[in-house]
Symmetry: C2
Subunit: 249 residues, 2 copies
């Protein structure tokens, strides 16, 4: 268990070898064992192997190579459609067309996704989460024909790794853990927490390559810009509302 | 790994035995190894052991016994505060005061939480997620003194189990998995997916106890009512906005 967790790295190059059906079934079953709100299981997992569909998903996910390479594409959705249909068929009045219900369903989907990731890795597969799932939620709704009350919250590609990257650096633990209450950061705390990341060889190379003065500027100016954030934020919120979680808007 | 995943059950009764510091550190470190968007680690984990604070949290979490019993209370927060402060200290212009950034940070927090849950269980601890974290987010912000850009997205209690519950039932896998695209449910699908849950001994007893005709009615009338959903949904959304992820509202 712990060995799998501590050796996780995202894999961005895959072999074309298919994932055996037995293994795929096991990792999905592992997903279903995660905690779920009130045991409602308000999520769905869409397993896409079809090349044409994966090509459409690749285009949606900013044409990242790994999305075409990896033989299996998993889309984790917040899903109150199934539960709502069940209520309606059983003389019960569902009231899940609101933001809280969307978020509850998103939690279910995300906890399941992490179980799937770890179960995949413990079977020798590699995985990579796709942050573009929320950016491009409206397009994914179209490609995968998601009905009302279903919103994609994360995607993951999986397959056999064709690279062996090292572990990714992380901030020191006291940078993300707070004892008892939240202890807000002083400027000296921020300096201490980020110093190792900022002084790494990788950062030095990135600064030269991107002609930037600080690593933070690479995030705000290149990777996660205010302009993109606002644009995709509006789209994602619109999708959440359009898909029926609209009561609070 | 898989054994831990497949033997998960939520624990609602705890011994007073404290969690050794070494184990607590290991399970939190396990959380930090989960995938995180762009390696930004935009989450925080608050570890609360203090009895007075845990009593306040217990009141917030609908006075569920286990929240008082379990010696460790973990609050997983979407956190763009640390990252934003770093940007501001490094001549970079952060633009993370929007819904997408909140959701991105929530994903980070939730993936980390599931690693923590599994690492805890593989160390012999029990865990239980608290769905009330989002319902009572505004109160948790007060108790734990969360600054702007920090929102609690889930809580978890952990400690040594004082009960051995059986595995919880789950829907059949074809009820939550879709092949290639989303295959919407026909009325006959809904009947098939829910039949086992509906015909269980536990359900029969619940129907008598609650004087209801269907299990779905127990969810819509008692457990997750429209009225509560709307109330808590408005509160949660207000908290997300109040904490600074307000650009889209």
């Amino acid at each position: 268990m712990l060995e799998t967790i501590f050796s996780h790295r995202s894999i961005r190059k895959y072999k074309s070898t298919p994932v055996p059906e037995r293994i795929l079934e096991e990792i999905l079953l592992a997903g279903s064992r995660a905690s779920t709100t009130g045991n409602m299981q308000v999520y769905s997992i869409i397993v896409t192997k079809d090349e044409n569909l994966r090509k459409q998903l690749w285009e949606a996910h900013f044409k990242q190579d790994m999305v075409l390479q990896a033989p299996v594409h998993l889309t984790f959705c917040a899903d109150f459609n199934r539960f709502t249909r069940w209520c309606e068929q059983r003389k019960a009045s569902p009231g899940y067309d609101n933001f809280l219900s969307f978020f509850t369903a998103a939690i279910d989907a995300l906890l399941a996704s992490q179980n799937v990731a770890l179960a995949a890795e413990s079977n020798g597969l590699g995985i990579c989460y796709l942050g573009t799932a929320t950016y491009m939620a409206d397009r994914i709704v179209e490609i995968l024909e998601l009905p009302k009350m279903v919103v994609p919250v994360t995607c993951m590609v999986t397959g056999y790794p064709d690279e062996e990257p090292g572990l990714t650096d992380r901030l020191p633990m006291d940078g993300i853990i707070h004892k008892e209450k939240y202890n807000d950061y002083l400027p000296t705390d921020i300096d201490r927490i980020y110093v190792e990341k900022e002084e790494s060889q990788q950062t030095r190379e990135l600064l030269v390559l991107n002609k930037k003065e600080t690593l933070a500027q690479i995030f705000t100016d290149n990777r996660y810009t205010e302009k993109d954030n606002i644009h995709f934020s509006q789209h994602f919120l619109k999708t959440v509302v359009k898909q029926g979680f609209s009561r609070n808007h």
